[in-house]
C-alpha cells in the first residue's frame, strides 16, 4: 500500500517497477498494489507525479508499505487564482499557496490558525483565547485606517462578507479546518486587482477537499485536548493588598471596615483548566467515473478557560464535481452548513477579577442570600451599590449568554467548454451565503452585578440577525496556443453581481415585564456590480505578461463617485527555462516578477455614508411636553445623521518586484519580494471640526498612506534518505508604514487624527495618525523618572518649553505594528515517526499597557469610602496616586517569540488486516512565549492591552483512522 507522507491519504496510480526489469504495476484507488518479484534482492522503485521517487529493497518482506513524500517542486502545482487557476510556473504575481501538508497541527478550531506563521507578510492575531475568538488577518500591514483592513476571503469561488454576524465572532468558523485543501494568498495588486474594490488588503482563496477518482475512502480524525491557563496578571495578593491598604488607611476605621477576612484569588476563581474535543469524519470517492464526491461531518466541543464559556460546532460539507459531455461541462457544487451553539462568558470579568478586593469571600450563603449567595458591595443600609464593581464569579454564573448560529454557503459553478470551440470556456458561478443567528442573554433575578436587572427581577435580551448575500459571476475565457511561435494567449472577461443584505432585531425586557430597551429592528443592504477582464500572454514559458482591468460600482457611494477602475499589469521571466540554465544542476528554478496594480476599498461599515439620512428615535428617547393638566406628552424624534456626500473609493497602488528560486532539484526553494504600496483618499473616521457636520466624527477620505517592505521565505529539505526526512521553512517580513498626507486640514502644524480609545476616564485616546509617522503611533507624554528610575507622578518633559505641561507636550512614540515578523516551521520524519513545530517572532511592536494604567494607582484602593479595589503590582513601581493615562511609561516594547505548536506523531500501517491506516499524535499549542512585556500577553492587535482573554496552553492527543 502506498500513502502520502503528508496526510496518509492513499495514492492511487503510483508506478511501481522492479528495478532493472520491465516488471511493474500501479496502485489501485486505495493505494494498494501487489507485484511478483524475483527474490529478496529485488528492489522496488516507486514514482508518482508530485512525489519524490523512492526505492525499497524487498528483502524478506511480503508486505511493503510506502509513505511517499511530496515533491518539493511546486512548479507544476496548479494554484487557484481569481476566476480561474494557473500553474505556479505561469504566475506573475506574488501568490503563496499553502496546502494540507503545510498546515499547522494541533487543537485548531478556526481556519486561520492553519496558516499562522506560514506566509511571509501575513499576520494573524486572534483576539484571545475564547472559543471561536475572532482572528484578525493583515496582509502586508493595513492599507487603510478605519475602513476595513481585512483581506477578501473567497471560499470555493464565493467571496464572503467580512461583516460578522452576531454570535459568531470569527467569520471563518463556518468552515471546518479539516475540510480545507488549500489556501492561496494573493498579496500584490497584479494578483488581487481582478477582485477590484475588495482586494486592497489582499485575497485569501480557500478551496475545500474534493472527491477523487477511485474507490471509496473513509477518514476519521478525532482529538481531545486539555487547555490550561498559562499565566495570570500580577495583581496584589491578599496579604500584599491588606498590607498596602492598612498602610494607607489604617487610621480610618470606616475605611478599614470595608475589608473582609477571606483570601480570594479572583483570577483563579474565574479561570479553569478546560477540555476540548473534536471529531471529523469524511467519505469520498467517485460514483462511476463521472461523479466524484466528498462528504464530511464535524463536531467539536470547546470549553473556554474562562468559566462558563463554551462552543459547540457541527459542520457538514458536501462537494460534488461531476463532468458531462466528454468533460465539456464541468460542474462544481459545494454545500457547506454549520451550526454553532455558543455560551459566551463576560470577558469584562477578567479585568474585574484583577481589580476585585482579594479580602472578600466569593460566596456567603447567609450574608448575601438575596444575591444568590455571591458577595456584593452594599451601602450602609444594605442595598447593593449600583456603581460598585460586580462580583466577577457572580457575573459568570448569573448571566447566561447563549447564541445559536446557522450558516449555509452554497454555490454551483458550471464551466462549459464549447463543443465547437473547446478553447472557449463559459463559466457561471451562482452562490449564496446565508446565515441566521439568535441569542439570549438572561440575567438571574438575584444578579446584583447588573443593578438595573436586579431591581427588576432579572433581564432577558433576545437578538436575532439574518444575513443574505447573493452572488452571480459569469465569465468567458479563451485560451489558444499559437504553435508556430509557442505563444499562449489566455483572455478572460466577465461580470459580477453581488448583493449583501442584513437584518437585526432585538428585544430587551426585565424579569418583571418592564421594558429595558425598546424593540429594535435594523436593516441594511448594499450592492456591488462589476465588470472585469484579464489577459495572459505566455511565450515559450519564459516570458509572461498578465494584464487585468476591473470596473466596480458600489452602492455605498453617490452616483458621481460610484465607479472605480482598477487596472494591473505584471510580467515575469522564467530564467530557468532559458537555454543557459536549462541544464543547470544547481539552479532548478529562477523567476523574476514585476507587478503594478490599483485596488480599491469600499468596506466602510456604513451603507449610506454619502446620503443625508434621518434616524427615528426609540420610545425611550423621546422629547417631552405636557398638556394643560400637566400630563406628559411624548414626541418621537427625528435625528439627521452626519454624512459626506463626496465620499469616494479609497485606492491603493501597489508596486511589487519579486524573485522565486529553487536549488538542487528544488530541495531548497524560496522567494524574495519587495513592495511599495500607496493608499490615496484614505477612508478614516475622524473627529471633524465642530459645527461643520451633524456629528463630531465622520467617515471621510482624509489622506494618503504608504507601506513598503520586504518578504522573504526559504524552504529546504535538510535531510532526505530512507530513514530520515527533515524540512525546515523560515520566512521573514519587514514592513514600514507612514502616513504621507492628511488632507482634512492643510496646515503644517496640524497634529493629526487622534485614535486608540482606552479604558479609563471617558473618550481618552492614546494614539494618533500624523503625517510623517506610522498610523496608530502612540501619542503620549514623556515621563520623567527619579534617580531610582521610578516615574514621578505628573512630571513630564515640557516638550514645547512653554512652562506648562499640557496636551501640546504629547509626542509620537513608537507604534503597535511590528517592524519585523518571522516565522519558522520544521518537520522531521523517521520511519513511522514524525515530529514538527512552528513558531513566530514579532519584533518592534509596542503595546500600551492599559491594564496597568487603569489599575495601578492608589485612588483605586477604595472609592468614595464605599468599596475597595485591587491593583496590579505595577503600583510598587509607580507609586501613582492618580491615573496617568498619557504617560509613555505605559508604552512597552512587546517584541516576542511564540512557539505556536509542537507535535509528535506515529503512523500505523498494518491494522485491521492492512486495509486501514492509522495515526496517533500529540501536540502542545501555545508552548511558550518569550517577551519582555510586563502584561499578560504581548500579542495585542492594535496595541492597546485592556481585557484580553488569556490564550490557553493546550495539550492534545489525537487519532486519525481511515481506509
Amino acid at each position: 500500500r502506498v500513502v502520502s507522507g503528508d496526510d496518509d491519504e492513499p495514492i492511487p496510480g503510483v508506478n511501481i517497477i522492479e528495478k532493472g526489469t520491465a516488471n511493474g504495476t500501479i496502485t489501485d484507488g486505495n493505494g494498494n498494489y501487489s507485484i511478483q518479484v524475483e527474490g529478496p534482492t529485488s528492489v522496488l522503485q516507486f514514482s508518482f507525479v508530485g512525489y519524490q521517487a523512492t526505492e525499497q529493497p524487498v528483502g524478506n518482506q511480503s508486505t511493503i508499505d510506502i509513505s511517499m513524500a511530496a515533491s518539493v517542486s511546486e512548479l507544476s502545482e496548479v494554484v487557484v487564482i481569481g476566476y480561474g487557476a494557473a500553474k505556479k510556473e505561469d504566475l506573475t504575481g506574488s501568490v503563496k499557496a499553502i496546502s494540507t501538508a503545510d498546515f499547522n497541527q494541533g487543537s485548531i478550531t478556526s481556519p486561520q490558525e492553519l496558516l499562522n506563521g506560514k506566509v511571509p507578510g501575513v499576520q494573524i492575531t486572534n483576539a484571545g483565547g475564547a472559543p471561536g475568538a475572532e482572528s484578525t488577518i493583515r496582509i502586508r500591514g493595513g492599507s487603510s485606517l478605519t475602513a476595513s483592513n481585512d483581506p477578501l476571503i473567497v471560499i470555493d469561488g464565493v467571496p464572503i462578507d467580512n461583516q460578522k454576524i452576531s454570535g459568531m465572532n470569527n467569520n471563518l468558523n463556518t468552515i471546518n479546518p479539516n475540510d480545507i485543501e488549500t489556501f492561496t494568498v494573493l498579496k500584490d495588486a497584479s494578483a488581487t486587482a481582478i477582485y477590484g474594490s475588495r482586494a486592497s488588503n489582499g485575497v485569501i482563496i480557500i478551496t475545500t477537499k474534493k472527491g477523487r477518482a477511485g474507490g471509496l475512502s473513509f477518514d476519521y480524525n478525532g482529538n481531545v485536548a486539555v487547555n490550561t491557563v498559562p499565566k495570570t496578571i500580577d495583581n496584589l495578593s491578599t496579604t500584599q493588598f491588606r498590607d498596602l491598604y492598612t498602610e494607607r488607611f489604617g487610621n480610618d476605621p470606616d475605611l478599614m471596615a470595608l475589608l473582609g477576612d477571606a483570601q480570594t484569588d479572583w483570577q483563579d476563581a474565574i479561570l479553569r483548566t478546560s477540555v476540548t474535543t473534536d471529531h471529523n469524519a469524511s467519505v469520498s470517492g467517485s460514483i462511476k467515473d463521472w461523479l466524484p464526491y466528498r462528504a464530511s461531518v464535524g463536531y467539536s466541543y470547546n470549553e473556554g478557560i474562562l468559566k462558563t464559556s463554551e462552543l459547540e460546532r457541527f459542520t457538514g460539507n458536501i462537494n460534488l464535481n461531476p463532468k458531462f459531455f466528454d468533460d465539456h461541462l464541468k460542474v462544481d457544487m459545494s454545500l457547506k452548513g454549520m451550526n454553532i451553539e455558543n455560551r459566551f462568558a463576560d470577558t469584562g470579568t477578567i479585568f474585574g477579577a484583577i481589580g476585585f478586593d482579594p479580602t472578600q469571600v466569593i460566596r456567603d450563603e447567609t450574608e448575601f442570600a438575596p444575591y444568590g449567595g455571591y458577595f456584593t458591595w452594599l451601602t450602609p443600609n444594605g442595598q447593593p451599590i449600583d456603581i460598585a464593581p460586580g462580583n466577577p464569579v457572580a457575573t459568570l454564573q448569573q448571566k447566561t449568554d447563549r447564541s445559536t448560529v446557522n450558516r449555509f454557503i452554497g454555490n454551483v459553478q458550471l464551466d462549459y467548454k464549447l463543443h465547437f470551440l473547446p478553447e472557449l470556456h463559459v463559466n457561471l458561478n451562482l452562490g449564496t451565503d446565508r446565515s441566521k443567528a439568535g441569542g439570549n442573554v438572561v440575567t438571574d433575578p438575584m444578579g446584583a452585578f447588573d443593578f438595573a436587572a436586579f431591581q427588576n427581577g432579572g433581564a432577558n435580551r433576545r437578538y436575532d440577525e439574518k444575513k443574505r448575500n447573493e452572488l452571480l459571476d459569469l465569465y468567458l475565457q479563451y485560451i489558444h496556443t499559437f504553435e508556430e511561435t509557442d505563444l499562449t494567449l489566455d483572455v478572460m472577461g466577465g461580470y459580477s453581481y453581488q448583493h449583501f443584505w442584513r437584518e437585526q432585531t432585538e428585544t430587551d425586557v426585565f424579569g418583571n415585564g418592564n421594558i429595558r430597551n425598546p424593540e429594535k429592528i435594523e436593516r441594511s443592504e448594499n450592492f456591488l456590480i462589476s465588470f472585469f477582464g484579464r489577459m495572459n500572454l505566455n511565450w515559450k514559458s519564459k516570458y509572461l505578461i498578465t494584464a487585468t482591468l476591473r470596473n466596480d460600482n458600489s452602492s455605498r457611494f453617490s452616483e458621481d463617485n460610484r465607479a472605480g477602475i482598477f487596472p494591473s499589469l505584471a510580467a515575469s521571466w522564467n530564467i530557468n527555462n532559458e537555454a543557459f540554465l536549462k541544464e543547470s544542476q544547481t539552479i532548478s528554478q529562477l523567476k523574476l516578477r514585476l507587478g503594478y496594480g490599483i485596488t480599491g476599498q469600499q468596506d466602510i461599515g456604513a451603507d449610506y455614508g454619502y446620503l443625508g439620512i434621518y434616524t427615528r428615535g426609540q420610545t425611550t428617547a423621546q422629547a417631552i411636553g405636557y398638556d394643560a393638566n400637566g400630563n406628559p406628552i411624548f414626541v418621537q424624534t427625528i435625528r439627521p445623521e452626519g454624512y459626506d456626500e463626496n465620499l469616494k473609493w479609497e485606492t491603493t497602488t501597489t508596486y511589487n518586484a519579486g524573485i522565486d528560486f529553487g536549488f538542487f532539484d528544488d530541495r531548497l526553494t524560496g522567494s524574495l519580494d519587495g513592495y511599495y504600496r500607496i493608499t490615496d483618499d484614505l477612508l478614516n473616521e475622524i473627529p471633524i471640526a465642530a459645527g461643520s457636520n451633524l456629528s463630531n466624527q465622520l467617515v471621510t477620505n482624509v489622506g494618503s498612506l504608504e507601506n513598503k517592505g520586504f518578504e522573504f521565505s526559504l524552504d529546504g529539505v535538510l535531510i532526505q534518505n530512507t530513514d530520515w526526512y527533515w524540512t525546515l521553512g523560515v520566512n521573514a517580513t519587514y514592513n514600514e508604514n507612514e502616513i504621507t498626507k492628511l488632507t482634512q486640514v492643510d496646515d503644517p502644524s496640524y497634529k493629526g487624527v487622534e485614535t486608540g480609545d482606552i479604558e479609563g476616564g471617558t473618550g481618552n485616546r492614546v494614539q494618533i495618525h500624523s503625517v510623517g509617522y506610522p498610523a496608530f503611533s502612540f501619542y503620549v507624554l514623556e515621563q520623567i523618572y527619579d534617580d531610582n528610575g521610578k516615574p514621578i507622578e505628573g512630571a513630564y518633559v515640557d516638550r514645547d518649553n512653554n512652562g506648562i505641561i499640557n496636551d501640546d507636550d504629547r509626542y509620537r512614540y513608537k507604534n503597535s505594528a511590528p517592524a519585523v515578523l518571522l516565522g519558522i516551521n520544521s518537520r522531521l520524519t523517521y520511519h513511522d515517526w514524525d515530529f514538527s513545530f512552528s513558531g513566530r517572532a514579532s519584533i518592534g511592536n509596542y503595546v500600551y499597557n492599559n491594564v496597568n494604567s487603569n489599575s495601578a494607582f492608589y485612588n483605586n484602593l477604595q472609592v468614595n469610602g464605599r468599596f475597595t479595589g485591587n491593583t496590579t503590582t505595577d503600583i510598587y513601581n509607580t507609586n501613582f496616586q492618580n491615573p496617568q493615562y498619557f504617560s509613555d511609561y505605559y508604552v512597552e516594547d512587546a517584541s516576542y517569540f511564540r512557539l505556536d505548536n509542537v507535535m509528535v506523531g506515529y503512523n500505523f500501517h498494518e491494522i485491521f488486516g492492512g486495509k486501514w491506516h492509522a495515526r496517533v499524535y500529540a501536540t502542545v499549542n501555545n508552548v511558550f512565549v518569550l517577551s519582555g512585556y510586563s502584561g499578560l500577553d504581548p500579542e495585542v492587535f492594535n496595541g492597546i492591552d485592556r481585557n484580553v482573554y488569556p490564550r490557553p496552553r493546550t495539550f492534545l492527543l489525537g487519532v486519525n483512522l481511515g481506509f
Binding site: P380, R616, D644, A689, T762, P883
Partner: protein
C-alpha cells in the same frame, strides 16, 4: 442591473430627507430632536445609538455636561470620582485635553448643528399648504440655537466655531465667531432673540407666549427674554468692557416678563405633601410649578432615559448612609456633595433658612479628601418623588422624571434686584419685596435694604439657586470665581482652597477641535 446601485434605506427607522419630512407633523419630530438633545444623549436611551461618537453617553448628555462645568468648579458642589480628569473639574485645574469639557463643548455645538439642519429643512415648506406652523417651529429652533450658543459663549468665549443654516453640511472648517472678547456671538444671540420676539420689523417668526405646563418645556417669549437678560447681565464676561447700557437693557427684558403677568412664584403645595413649598420646585411632578418655571429641560424616567440630566444630579448626590429610595431612585452613585464654605452661607449667614436641603448623617462638613463621599454635606434638593410622596415613574432603574428649571421667576427677581444695585447701588422697594417673597416662601426671614448689597446678592443667589446650573457664571460676574477673593475646599486643588489664575474663567476650546480646525484659536492661558 446597475439601477440596483441607487439605494434608499430599507431600515424602517431610517429615511432620506425627502421621505422623512412630508407633513408638518414630521417637522415637529425634527424639532423634538433639538429639545430632546437637552435631555437624552441618543436615539435609544439611556445608551446606544448616541448622538456623539467616542464619548460615554452619560457624560456627554447636555445637562450633565453643563452641570459638570457650571457646578463642580464652584463652592456649591464637589465630585469625588476618579474618572480620568474629572477631579480637575472640581479643582479648576483643567487643560485643553479635559474630556469633560470636551464632551460639553461638542454637545453644545451639536445642538447648534441640529437647529441649523432643522431650519434648513423647515424653510423648504414655508408658505406651503398644511405647513402654517412652520414659522413658529423655525422660531423655536432659533431660540434653542441661540440658547446653546449662549452656553458656548459663556463657557468658551467668542472664539467658538460659528455656523448657521446658511453654511453647508460637509467637511469644511467653520470660522470662529470672532476674537476672544469680540462682540460677534453676543450680537448674534441678541439679534436672533429680538427677531423671534417680533422686535424686528421684517421678521414674522414669533415665539409662543404665556406660561403653564403646555409651554414651560417649549421655547417661549418669557424664556427668550430671560436669555437676553442673562446675556446682558453677564456682558462684562463676554465683551471687552462693562457698560451700564446692558444692565439697563437686562432690566427692561425682565420688566417685560413681569408685565405679561404670566408668571408667579409657587407659594402653595398639595395638601398632605411631606415636602416644603420650595422643595416642590425640584420634584418628579414639578410641572405643577409651571407658573414659576419659565423654561425647563423636561425629563421622564420611562420615555426619556438617560444617565445624565436630573437622573445624574439626583443619583450622583446619593451615597454614604443615604437611602436612595428616600429620593425616589435606586441609584446611589456617591459622587457629588457640597463644600463647607457653601454650607456656611446657611449656617453662618442665614441660619434659620428652610432652603438648606442637606443630608448630614455620617457626613462631615469639612473635606480633607476629595474622593470621600462622606466628607462634605450631601445635597437633597432634587428628588425623584412626587409632591404626595410617591415615587417617580422609574424607581427600579433609577431614571428621574424631575424637570430641570433652566429659568425661573425667582432667578428673575434676584437678577432685577442685582441690576438695581449695579445701576443705582440700592434695591427698589418693589424688588426688595420680591426678594422677601422668595425668602419667605423658602422659609427664611425677610431682609431689609440695609443688608442687601452685591456681596449679599451672590450669597443669596447661592442659597436660592444652588445646583441649578448658575453658580460658575454668577461667581465670575461677582469676581469670585478666579483669584483669591473667595476660596472654598479644593478650589485650586488644595483642601482648604487657594486662588486660581484668571484665565480659568473661560474654559479651553478642546484641543481636539483646535487641532481639527486651524481657524480656531485656543483661549489665552491654555
Amino acid at each position: 442591473c446597475l439601477s440596483d446601485l441607487d439605494v434608499v434605506p430599507i431600515d424602517p427607522n431610517l429615511d432620506t430627507a425627502d421621505k422623512v419630512y412630508q407633513t408638518q407633523n414630521d417637522l415637529e419630530g425634527g424639532l423634538a430632536k433639538i429639545y430632546a438633545g437637552f435631555s437624552v444623549s441618543g436615539q435609544q436611551g439611556p445608551a446606544g445609538n448616541g448622538d456623539l461618537k467616542g464619548f460615554d453617553e452619560g457624560n456627554s448628555q447636555y445637562l450633565r455636561g453643563y452641570w459638570v462645568c457650571q457646578e463642580l468648579p464652584t463652592d456649591e458642589a464637589i465630585n469625588g470620582w476618579n474618572d480620568g480628569n474629572l477631579p480637575k473639574m472640581s479643582q479648576i485645574t483643567w487643560g485643553g485635553g479635559n474630556e469633560f469639557i470636551r464632551s460639553f463643548y461638542y454637545r453644545a455645538i451639536y445642538q447648534v448643528s441640529l437647529a441649523n439642519e432643522f431650519i434648513r429643512q423647515a424653510k423648504r415648506f414655508e408658505g406651503q399648504d398644511g405647513f402654517d406652523r412652520v414659522p413658529e417651529l423655525i422660531a423655536e429652533a432659533r431660540y434653542l440655537r441661540a440658547f446653546a450658543y449662549w452656553h458656548a459663549l459663556d463657557l468658551f468665549g467668542n472664539g467658538v466655531p460659528f455656523v448657521t443654516e446658511n453654511d453647508p453640511v460637509g467637511a469644511f472648517l467653520p470660522p470662529p465667531a470672532g476674537a476672544i472678547k469680540g462682540d460677534e456671538l453676543f450680537n448674534f444671540i441678541s439679534s436672533e432673540i429680538k427677531a423671534i420676539l417680533g422686535e424686528n420689523p421684517d421678521d414674522n417668526n414669533y415665539l409662543i407666549s404665556g406660561s403653564g405646563t403646555t409651554i414651560f418645556g417649549r421655547a417661549n417669549q418669557g424664556a427668550a427674554r430671560m436669555l437676553l437678560a442673562k446675556l446682558y447681565l453677564n456682558h462684562k464676561s463676554y465683551l471687552s468692557s462693562e457698560d451700564n447700557q446692558w444692565y439697563t437693557a437686562a432690566k427692561e427684558e425682565l420688566d417685560k416678563i413681569y408685565a405679561t403677568n404670566a408668571y408667579s412664584l409657587v407659594t402653595t403645595k398639595d395638601a398632605g405633601s411631606p415636602y416644603s413649598v420650595y422643595e416642590t420646585l425640584f420634584l418628579a411632578d414639578n410641572q405643577k410649578a409651571a407658573s414659576e418655571i419659565i423654561w425647563a429641560f423636561t425629563f421622564d424616567g420611562q420615555n426619556a432615559k438617560s444617565f445624565g440630566g436630573t437622573t445624574y444630579i439626583i443619583n450622583a448626590g446619593i451615597g454614604g448612609q443615604m437611602v436612595s429610595t428616600d429620593y425616589g431612585t435606586s441609584g446611589s452613585w456617591g459622587g457629588n456633595r457640597t463644600t463647607p464654605e457653601f454650607v456656611n452661607l446657611f449656617d453662618q449667614k442665614s441660619p434659620t433658612d428652610g432652603r438648606d436641603l442637606f443630608f448630614t448623617q455620617g457626613q462631615s462638613k469639612e473635606i480633607n479628601q476629595q474622593d470621600q463621599f462622606t466628607q462634605g454635606y450631601a445635597v437633597t434638593k432634587f428628588k425623584n418623588k412626587k409632591q404626595d410622596g410617591t415615587d417617580g415613574s422609574n424607581l427600579s432603574e433609577g431614571f428621574a422624571d424631575v424637570n430641570f428649571p433652566v429659568f425661573r421667576l425667582a432667578d428673575a427677581y434676584l437678577m432685577s434686584a442685582e441690576l438695581d444695585l449695579r445701576l443705582n447701588n440700592t434695591v427698589t422697594a418693589e424688588n426688595l419685596a420680591r426678594i422677601n417673597q422668595i425668602r419667605t416662601r423658602g422659609g427664611a426671614p425677610a431682609v431689609t435694604n440695609a443688608v442687601v448689597d452685591l456681596d449679599w446678592m451672590i450669597e443669596e443667589r447661592g442659597r436660592e439657586l444652588y445646583w441649578e446650573g448658575h453658580r460658575r457664571t454668577d461667581l465670575i460676574r461677582f469676581n469670585q470665581f478666579t483669584g483669591g477673593a473667595y476660596v472654598w475646599a479644593f478650589k485650586g486643588g488644595n483642601s482648604s482652597g487657594r486662588p486660581v489664575e484668571d484665565y480659568f474663567a473661560v474654559m479651553p476650546i478642546p484641543s481636539t477641535d483646535v487641532n481639527a480646525n486651524p481657524n480656531l484659536t485656543q483661549n489665552p492661558g491654555y
